[in-house]
């Protein structure tokens, strides 16, 4: 047989690549490489649609107050300290801020109250993609500057809710000199822009500002943060480089939120978790946040990975819940809902899906929050016999015929049947496991359950329309906001309140919780709220999810915490290999 040229070529190429592969070791890169699951799409501070965009924007820009991951509280960033509050009458509140004297833009111009005012006006400027800030910051009525001090200003808020204090400092400040040098936006007051109808005649000045903003490339939008965007290849990577002379470097006692150690940060976009895990093991990646449960456990057992990587796991504020549609006649009474809540084996599901990490809870407030968690209540056990007893108590009777289903007489004399449809987002295996377990437990009791995994776009529509009986979903939370009105108030039915739940007593409690500002008072109300939720059971908490991060052993300063994103990118530093134990 003639030796084929192609075979020789193939053989030679294999040898060459093999040689290349053998020489690949853990690369000692100067930059910190973090994995992101998908592209942030846009890092426009007015249009942050996902967590990654928020992370990127917080490297480039600063807000008045920022979350400090090491303590878990809001800390002063651009301002000197937390605002002083003054209540005016019974409907207005003034928050007084003072910007740090050293805060500067890149060209040397100081950050002043006029920049804050400009940013607020930009949020309501027509023609810009600012629909989200419009919703969030509608409560700010106006900014009152101080003629004596250009850094001191007061924000006047419509309403006296304590969460406005934190929300008022939570937006990125943009530079007026760079985006509106002619100060053309100063002609319009904030209230005018907020009240401007959508169909008003376009104003040339507003259009000019809008056009200038929209056409500015993302890496040229000036920010007062520590990094600048050096490169952004869509869907491949983003590179941030530390500014050599940043104003906060000159502060004598820089707070945690104003420290930035890495010289270069690379965010690599790797959609598949298996690929990312392999990259981590090969040293092509330094930080892998949100590792899936099984992969995390497997990496911990591999000797090579154990030696080279450090593994962190903290309780997060995301809770897996099951929501009942209380508008359905079968689920309208609390006894039936409590009975069904005993058909979920939450402890077993926690073990099966999260491999034992994560926590059970009695309500949608995290157990790590010791001030507000109601530890006198017990989590609902997995108790099918108890469920049957509660169903009998609610008036359900088991039919004697072939189907052995549950029936009860309805209010108008008709016969109600207990048949349930469970909706959840398709393509999520955790929700599928929960649903299948519930279906098996309910089948043991004789309740017919139909499972409907739904695609996420269609799901949001069906939930809004109330086209479900049970819905399994993850609620994302944080430790600052205890305003559950969008979730459970009767006014929010049709918007955020998919359960349709709302009694006068619960509405009053939610309103009281929103208005409470003393921690002691809040704690009392929240305990009462959790007890009420367990009695009424419009939604059942199953468990709180953990945050898992796997990182290179030589990295320090990650400050892993349960708050999003789970680590502080700007605080990471890489120790030289020799000093790692």
């Amino acid at each position: 047989m003639k030796p084929c040229f192609s075979v020789i070529l193939l053989f030679g190429t294999t040898l060459f690549l093999l040689f290349q592969g053998c020489t690949a070791r853990r690369t000692d890169s100067a930059s910190i490489r973090v994995r992101w699951a998908h592209d942030p799409e846009t890092i426009d501070p007015l249009q942050l649609t996902n967590q990654m965009a928020l992370d990127a924007a917080s490297l480039l820009h600063l807000s008045l107050m920022q979350i400090d991951l090491s303590t878990g509280e809001f800390a002063a960033a651009l301002v000197e300290g937390p605002p002083t509050t003054r209540l005016l009458g019974d409907s207005l509140m003034q928050l007084s801020y003072r910007l740090r004297p050293g805060a500067q833009w890149d060209g040397g111009l100081p950050v002043l109250a006029s920049d804050v005012a400009f940013t607020l006006r930009l949020m309501f400027c027509p023609g810009l993609p600012n629909e989200t800030p419009r919703l969030r910051f509608n409560f700010i009525r106006r900014l009152i500057p101080d003629p004596a001090d250009p850094r001191h200003f007061k924000l006047e808020c419509r309403g006296q809710s304590p969460e406005y204090v934190q929300a008022s400092g939570d937006f990125f400040i943009l530079s007026e000199a760079a985006l509106d040098p002619q100060h053309s936006l100063r002609r319009f007051s904030l209230a005018d822009l907020q009240a401007r109808p959508v169909s008003a005649t376009p104003d040339t000045a507003l259009e000019a500002v809008g056009r200038r903003y929209r056409n500015m490339p993302p890496d040229q939008l000036p920010g007062c943060g520590p990094y600048r965007l050096a490169a952004w290849e869509k869907d491949r990577y983003l590179t941030f480089r530390r500014k050599p002379r940043w104003w906060a470097d000159r502060l004598r006692a820089a707070p945690f939120v104003l420290r930035a150690r890495p010289v270069q940060l690379d965010f690599l976009i790797i959609p598949d978790a298996t690929t990312a895990s392999l990259a981590l093991q090969r040293g092509e990646l330094d930080v892998f946040p949100q590792v899936p449960a099984r992969e995390f456990a497997r990496l911990r057992t591999l000797p090579a990975a154990k030696a080279a990587l450090a593994f962190y796991s903290r309780a997060s504020y995301d809770v897996v819940t099951v929501a009942f549609n209380t508008r359905r006649p079968a689920l309208a009474d609390a006894l039936t809902r409590r009975a069904l809540s005993r058909c979920f084996d939450a402890a077993g599901l926690l073990q099966a899906t999260q491999l034992g990490e994560g926590q059970r809870s009695v309500g949608i407030i995290s157990p790590t929050d010791r001030r507000y968690y109601n530890d006198s209540l017990a989590p609902v056990p997995f108790d099918p016999a108890g469920a049957a007893a509660l169903l009998h108590q609610a008036g359900w009777q088991r039919a004697a015929d072939q189907s052995r289903g549950w029936f009860r007489p309805g209010p108008h004399g008709e016969r109600e049947a207990l048949q349930l449809r469970v909706r959840y987002r398709a393509n999520e295996s955790m929700f599928a496991t929960i649903a299948l377990q519930f279906q098996a437990a309910a089948a043991g009791l004789g309740i017919a359950v139909a499972l409907q995994p739904t695609e996420s776009g269609v799901l949001s529509e069906t939930l809004r329309q109330g086209d479900f009986d049970l819905c399994i979903r993850t609620l994302k939370g944080n430790p600052f906001m205890f305003n559950f009105m969008p979730l459970l108030h009767s006014h929010a039915v049709g918007a955020g309140n998919i359960t349709g739940f709302g009694t006068p007593a619960s509405d009053r409690l939610l309103e009281a919780m929103e208005a409470a500002n003393l921690p002691v008072h809040k704690a009392v109300l929240l305990r009462r709220f959790q007890a009420m939720m367990q009695t009424e059971a419009p939604m059942i908490p199953l468990f709180f999810l953990p945050t898992r991060i796997a990182a290179d052993r030589r990295l320090r300063g990650l400050h892993v915490s349960g708050l999003k994103p789970g680590y502080t990118a700007a605080g990471i530093e890489r120790l030289p290999t020799a000093s790692v134990p």
Partner: protein
């Protein structure tokens, strides 16, 4: 020597028939077999367990805790009831449409009255202006159709029907429209039942067989025997069905078994999009897809993959024409 040759020819076919018989038998007897676990119930204590581990999971469990063995058994049922019929029906539909498109091309004609009838009825149904006149036009068209069918009046105008262009464009459109748009269009239907899913699978997979049959038909219709049949005075439909089509479906002998794997993958894609089989119905495709979360669980790949490969091979062996091997010179 001849006996050995005959045995050699019978042996793969025998194995193939045997395997398919096992699959059909298992599918039929699935509810009565003494399996320790039901297919859809997750065993939360033994998730992603290797085979022969504790808990009587003989072939292990998948990352959701479902028993692999019972999923294989009940998945055989889904394969026999859904996947194989879907493949056969898609091949049939493709053969009919592709064969017709290839045979008649763009040269078919229908009486113009049919067009009037269809147009008028559509206008009236959609509620356009002057609907009454539309109804009158439709009536005239109906009369003309009847007259043409009975043959009373000759020389009525006919319109050309570009069958080839229509079939090819429809096939291209079905292939190009993204699956998610299909989901959105089907989202109005709350729960897709088994016959509905069969329909969705068939309607999504007919273009490939149609194109293969059309290409072969273009060649077959130019062959002498077709010309002879036409010259003998046989009606065109009969020539197409009895003479040309059996030769034009040759490529489907290879394509049909191979399409089963594609249909299983399509089934699991549809269930990812939310319109597939309900999650408590076992299927080999779903079992294979669940291996994605735990790539190191080789038993979740191996067993359903082996069953699927054996089924594909058996069908290929039965479908291909085995003849005496030619001698190598």
């Amino acid at each position: 020597m001849a006996t050995l040759t005959r045995l050699w020819l019978r042996w793969p076919r025998g194995l193939a028939l045997g395997w398919l018989a096992v699959v059909v038998l298992v599918a039929a007897l699935a509810p009565y077999l003494p399996l320790p676990y039901a297919p859809a119930v997750p065993d939360l204590a033994c998730v992603a367990q290797p085979p022969l581990g504790p808990g009587a999971h003989w072939l292990g469990t998948n990352p959701q805790g479902q028993d692999v063995l019972s999923n294989l058994v009940f998945g055989a049922r889904t394969a026999v009831v859904l996947t194989v019929p879907a493949a056969v029906l898609a091949a049939l539909l493709g053969a009919v449409l592709g064969g017709a498109a290839g045979f008649w091309g763009n040269a078919g004609r229908v009486p113009a009255a049919g067009g009037l009838l269809a147009g008028g009825a559509a206008w009236w149904a959609l509620g356009g202006p002057a609907a009454g006149w539309a109804l009158a036009v439709a009536a005239v068209g109906a009369v003309g159709c009847v007259a043409a069918a009975r043959g009373h009046v000759r020389g009525l105008p006919t319109w050309p029907v570009p069958l080839d262009a229509v079939v090819v464009s429809t096939a291209a459109a079905v292939d190009t429209v993204p699956r998610l748009v299909l989901v959105v269009a089907l989202a109005a239907v709350a729960q897709v039942s088994l016959p509905g899913l069969l329909l969705v699978l068939v309607l999504t997979s007919w273009p490939h067989p149609a194109r293969l049959v059309r290409a072969q038909m273009l060649q077959v219709r130019a062959l002498p025997f077709v010309e002879a049949a036409r010259a003998a005075g046989l009606p065109a439909g009969r020539v197409w069905l009895r003479h040309a089509l059996p030769h034009a479906v040759q490529p489907l002998r290879t394509a049909l078994p191979l399409s089963i794997a594609g249909l299983l993958a399509l089934e699991s894609t549809l269930s990812f999009l939310g319109i597939g089989l309900p999650p408590d119905t076992a299927s080999w495709g779903r079992l294979l897809a669940s291996a994605r979360e735990a790539p190191s669980a080789w038993w979740v790949f191996l067993f359903p993959g082996a069953c699927l490969a054996l089924t594909v091979l058996s069908l290929s062996a039965l479908a291909s024409q085995n003849h005496a091997p030619t001698r190598k010179a």
